[in-house]
Symmetry: C2
Subunit: 186 residues, 2 copies
Amino acid sequence: MQSDVTDALTSAFFEEWARVGFAALSLERVAKNAGAGKAALYRRWSSKVAMASDLLSKVGLTLFELPDTGSLEADLLAFLLSLRRVLRHRIIQRVTLDLLAEIAREPALERAIRPFQEARRKRVKTVIDRAIARGELPMTIDRETAADFMVSALYWRLVVTGGRSDRRHLKTLARMTAAAISAASR
Amino acid sequence: MQSDVTDALTSAFFEEWARVGFAALSLERVAKNAGAGKAALYRRWSSKVAMASDLLSKVGLTLFELPDTGSLEADLLAFLLSLRRVLRHRIIQRVTLDLLAEIAREPALERAIRPFQEARRKRVKTVIDRAIARGELPMTIDRETAADFMVSALYWRLVVTGGRSDRRHLKTLARMTAAAISAASR
DNA sequence: TTTCGTCGGAACGGTTGCGTTCCACCGCGA
DNA sequence: TCGCGGTGGAACGCAACCGTTCCGACGAAA
């Protein structure tokens, strides 16, 4: 099969997803907007959910490694910069919002994004473990809740409220998150 | 018009919304599940968006006043308890997720929930202002980002990840959030 | 040059929900 | 007792999209 057709269908799919939402997404329009026929689409994927699952699991969000900066706060800033790079994209914002709502009804989608969740979890865990190894954090820390803080504030600002995040905001965020995590021990 | 029919249609609407999502929501099914005819529904509302807007703006989320407890952390705990009461409901979780995605496409919905956003913002602002008045926080604090922290972690845990939040978690959250906010000044 | 697979495009029957209209029924106030 | 308005329910024509099938065109490999 011709890969340029596959690519056109792929990007049309996400454009359309961001525009009208997953439930209202029509494969007929996707094919049309890609300048392709429906046959070409159905030859590759059997249904909307199958197409979404396949594409989601293939999207190569190349995450750079986060080098050890020597302090929790600087590590957090690097992590937040990396997270912001992803969450700033308009299409990713829309698709993420839609995806979260859809996952509750379509378990196949959750399976498809599991690799991403695990990659994120691993990066989060790395930052915390480094801080513990440095002695900045006690081993008794509530890692789960600390992990929540590392993501939630930026997600809230960029995706939920649709707000902005400049470098100063990110620095404040890193400082506040470090303070919060330091208070997570019992 | 008979109010019991209106009530039946209202609760069927939200049930259906939580079950299939806003885009896939069919007014035909809503009427059927309410044990009503389509005519009764269309006599009250002219469309799906109109119905959602009207119902959302009428839902009486009676928020209790938050008494001054004497400290930022205790105020935060009271706020989080109040927020958890709302975010724990299954239907509210689903509808909220769906609503956030839909707002990007349907401005009328944003207008409908604006009163809630403002009520929440006011409560958040009150807690911070009290802490400033007490001298717990400097006046130079980044209120916007502090407000983000008050909501985002619990929202992330309960709504996004579908996790739980017991009393101990809430106490940890209050402690961490207080620490974060205290670090929000520049 | 022939062959073979994919291409874009059009059409198929079937399903679903839209918004509207009509119907017989029922309960309440005059 | 009558009349009227709201009721549940069925049906209407219309539009969109589903998943499938068929077509002639095109291009690369043999």
